[in-house]
């Protein structure tokens, strides 16, 4: 089957964590015919999950009536994942560094950091009408996430 690129897939779901699985399934479907290596797909999937979590939790305050809009813009070379909520935005510059000694043992505050690590670039955009839009960009075949160890557990 020829890979259907370039193309854009759009998806709108209510703010329920269960829907994260659904959106992840769509990403997997979109990446499958492109034969992206499993490792890259995995990390993109985690980045997507973090973006969805933030949109549902911080943006839409888990109100199931409020929707998260997802755009998957795929070309043969790269993907842009857009996640937009109906919240009131925030100041990305004010987000603390999760690696600071005082933050290392906090139970929160790692989501955006992971997105940055797992993607090539992430950009925030706050529309006039409110809401947060984050764009996650990843070039295919680029360097993978730098994970060192291996404990031989099941993958």
């Amino acid at each position: 089957m020829s890979s259907p690129v370039p193309q854009t897939i759009q998806l709108r779901v209510g703010s329920r964590y269960e829907n994260i699985e659904l959106v992840q399934a769509v990403l997997d479907e979109v990446l499958e015919p492109l034969e992206i290596d499993e490792e890259s797909s995995y990390w993109m999937g985690i980045a997507l999950r973090e973006a969805l979590t933030n949109a549902m939790k911080h943006g839409n305050k888990l109100n199931p009536e409020k929707r998260v809009e997802v755009g998957l813009e795929v070309t043969a070379d790269a993907i842009d994942i857009l996640v937009q909520d109906e919240g009131s935005g925030f100041d990305p510059a004010a987000v603390e560094d999760p690696l600071a000694p005082d933050n290392l043992l906090k139970t929160q505050g790692r989501g955006i950091f992971y997105m940055r690590k797992f993607m090539d670039k992430i950009e925030y955009d706050f529309g006039a009408g409110g809401g947060t839009k984050v764009r996650l960009h990843k070039k295919f075949g680029g360097p993978s996430v730098d994970v060192e160890g291996d404990q031989g557990g099941a993958e």
């Binding site: 994260i20 999760p98 690696l99 290392l104 043992l105 989501g111 160890g149 404990q151 557990g153």
Partner: protein
Amino acid sequence: MKIDKRQRDGATVLDLQGKITIGEGDVALREAVHEAVGAGATNILLNMARVRTIDSSGVGELVAAYTTVTNRGGKLGLFGLPRRVLGVLQITQLVTVLDISKDEDEAAASLS
């Protein structure tokens, strides 16, 4: 996520299976740790070998479990981490804080 509980050398071992992700595995992990602590456990070992994936919420729950257990004078040990799960902890430098062992024997030995 599925969690089985057993005892080994005086520690409670939780065999985790599935995803430690928001809304599902993270809650299950929290409840299992609280239940074990409530039942008198001091030392807890988390068998991560069958954890397929973890997100920042799951990582947050591991940190919460660490704090809960150490605040009561106990130890929390993790073992058998699949490469990607370990990677997620490395990236946020939690490997420097959490007690991570290669396998169960090593984890059990580290408690004494």
